[in-house]
């Protein structure tokens, strides 16, 4: 009987949590998140625009490209992506009100927490380059999702190479 009551409690609390899991928890340490975005914003940076979003959404602009890709277990920005990163650095330097979240991702192989760290390292590598070319630290936030948000659900290199990435997600102050 006691156990049943306990199970009921678990079920009830689960239902309650479901209702509030996406809100900011009341207790514990402060939430540092700057974007504070609620569910549903998604991670498809390519479709999100900022305030000065014309160039960001113009397919002929170098700013249109908002994803850079990485080799296995590497956080080195590839030569072919340097121009993209430079364009975003210039855009940030020219538009101090622009904020960007660099979302770091890894492919599914290996352990989840190591991949979380790897995604952060990729985000930080892009951040370093942006700052070296004039963007301000205050404009850039790095969030790693590790292997948790693949863009391609397949289990071979053609999928993995799409998933090892950093996405530029813009928002304005």
């Amino acid at each position: 009987m006691k156990l049943f009551a306990r199970l009921l409690l678990v079920a009830l609390s689960a239902a309650l949590l479901f209702g509030c899991a996406s809100t900011t928890p009341k207790d514990g340490a402060a939430v540092e998140s700057r974007d504070g975005a609620a569910d549903g914003a998604g991670t498809s940076g390519a479709q999100q625009g900022g305030t000065s979003g014309d160039a960001l959404n113009d397919p002929s602009s170098p700013l249109y490209k908002k994803i850079v890709y990485f080799d296995l277990d590497s956080s080195e920005v590839k030569q072919e992506d340097r121009a993209t990163v430079s364009a975003h650095a210039k855009h940030l330097a020219d538009n101090p009100e622009e904020l960007v979240t660099l979302e770091g991702h890894a492919d599914e192989r290996g352990s989840r927490e190591y991949n979380l760290a790897l995604g952060e390292r990729r985000g930080n590598a892009v951040r370093q380059l942006l700052m070296a070319e004039g963007a301000s630290a205050k404009q850039i936030q790095v969030v790693s999702y590790g292997e948790e948000k693949p863009v391609d659900a397949g289990h071979e290199e053609s999928s993995w190479s799409q998933n090892r990435r950093v996405e530029f997600v813009y928002s304005s102050r």
Partner: protein
């Protein structure tokens, strides 16, 4: 199409209320040739019907362990419920070594008295026997405790049937949204309970040593944060929300501290958080990735993943700080180490080329064995008796769970009906029920 969406919507709504019973089914895919033949006679029932078939649960537990071969019910010659009814010669002729009999009396509304006896068929002697009283909700648990007692008597090793597993599920993607859930179920996959759900990833669940709480990493605020949740009350606390990563929580064996990974100082380092005082002790200081701490059972040592030597490998260091020493040298990639309950082995994810498998390093002999055969195996967790390792795998369509005996001989598959299931962690031993010995 609309109706299907509506149905899905309803399912999503019902899921967290525990009404949808997406039970895990467990099947044994590879057993031991020398499994012990045992006869488990369906228990007699007096005074009413039973909501659970206790003897069937016991037989399923023992079969699943891979160490026992329960006689099929149709091959049973007789159905004794008491010692006086047993003709041992008949059972010897069937080639079974051991015999389990029992009976259940309905003693009141939803109240049961259960007794069982285990006999050595060749010596015609009782090996053990107990009597339990139980309500409806504890009946399956009583069955698992009977399995534990039989298993320990016959193998000399403590049983881990009356335990639970926590795991993470991810629903199929509906309108670009996945629902992630942290769930807890009995070790045989029954009674799944949803502990929390989120539209953002949930990972790295870890049991408190007393089995009452889970720590986990949740992205519900769009970044990795660590929570601790009390399972019975659902109450939870935000434990770590520093800038950067907050990940890989691991309870100290005394339950007072949490080892974790934080990147607030620039890159991922191992810290130990005192849960009462909230004091943080930084243990590593290295420009490489340091993550996935795990405590030795004596609490003296932490093993963690680091790529300070190039690729990820396991390292160890004193739990209160000091120099780190490399532990793994075999395999290109070793990560997510976890100690066996007796501290003599380390299980890990080992990567070689495109294959990521579960490996075990024997710390006494320094020998590494690879226990699994697929290519995307991860997150190993020992059963509390150290006999099995549960891990996540992928059949190229779904993430699913599997278990393997530490000697690599017994393989089980745990299948969830829909979506992905991953990151199972085995609970500590539960509190035993009060029992009375049954007289021979």
């Amino acid at each position: 199409m609309f109706r299907r969406l509506l149905l899905l919507g309803l399912l999503v709504l019902l899921l967290p209320m525990g009404l949808a019973r997406a039970a895990l089914t467990i099947e044994i895919t590879e057993g031991v040739e020398a499994a012990l033949p045992i006869a488990i006679v369906p228990f007699g029932v007096e005074g009413g019907a039973l909501p659970e078939d206790i003897s069937a649960i016991v037989a399923a537990d023992l079969r699943r362990s891979g160490r026992f071969a329960p006689l099929p019910e149709k091959d049973l010659l007789a159905r004794p419920h008491e010692k006086a009814q047993i003709n041992f010669a008949d059972w010897r002729a069937l080639g079974v070594d051991d015999l389990v009999i029992g009976k259940v009396a309905v003693t009141g509304p939803g109240q049961y008295a259960i007794q069982f006896q285990l006999f050595d068929v060749f010596r015609a002697a009782q090996l053990t026997g107990f009597r339990f009283t139980s309500g409806v909700a504890e009946l399956r648990n009583v069955a698992h405790q009977i399995s534990d007692i039989i298993y320990e008597k016959l193998t000399g090793e403590r049983g881990a049937f009356a335990t639970r597993i926590a795991y993470v599920t991810a629903s199929p993607v509906v309108n670009k949204v996945r629902t992630y859930a942290l769930q807890v179920a009995d070790a045989d996959g029954y009674n799944p309970q949803t502990i929390m759900t989120s539209k953002q990833p949930v990972l790295s669940p870890a049991w408190s040593p007393d089995g009452t709480r889970l720590s986990y990493v949740s992205f519900e605020n769009r970044r990795a944060q660590i929570f601790i949740q009390d399972i019975a009350s659902g109450r939870r606390e935000l434990i770590a929300s520093y800038p950067g990563l907050n990940g890989a929580p691991a309870w100290s064996p005394d339950g007072r501290r949490l080892a974790l990974t934080l990147s607030k100082d620039g890159n991922p380092e191992i810290y130990v958080l005192n849960l009462a005082s909230k004091a943080l002790l930084r243990l590593t200081s290295n420009p490489a990735i340091d993550t996935e701490p795990t405590w030795s059972p004596d609490g003296g040592t932490l093993v963690f993943t680091s790529d300070r030597g190039g690729r990820p490998q396991l390292y160890k260091m004193p739990a209160n700080g000091g120099n780190a020493q490399r532990v793994t040298f075999e395999g290109e990639y070793n990560a997510r180490g976890v100690f066996s309950p007796n501290g003599e082995k380390l299980a890990m994810v080992q990567g070689q080329g495109n294959s990521y498998r579960i490996a075990v390093l024997d710390l006494k002999t320094n020998t590494m064995s690879i226990l699994t055969t697929r290519t995307l195996d991860e997150s190993p967790s020992f059963s509390p008796n150290g006999s099995m390792i549960i891990y996540a795998t992928n059949d190229n369509v779904h993430g699913e769970l599997a278990a393997v005996s530490v000697d690599g001989r017994v393989h089980q598959r745990l299948v969830l009906q829909e979506g992905d299931v991953r990151e199972a962690v085995w609970s500590p031993f539960g509190r035993p029920l009060e029992v009375q010995p049954t007289q021979p």
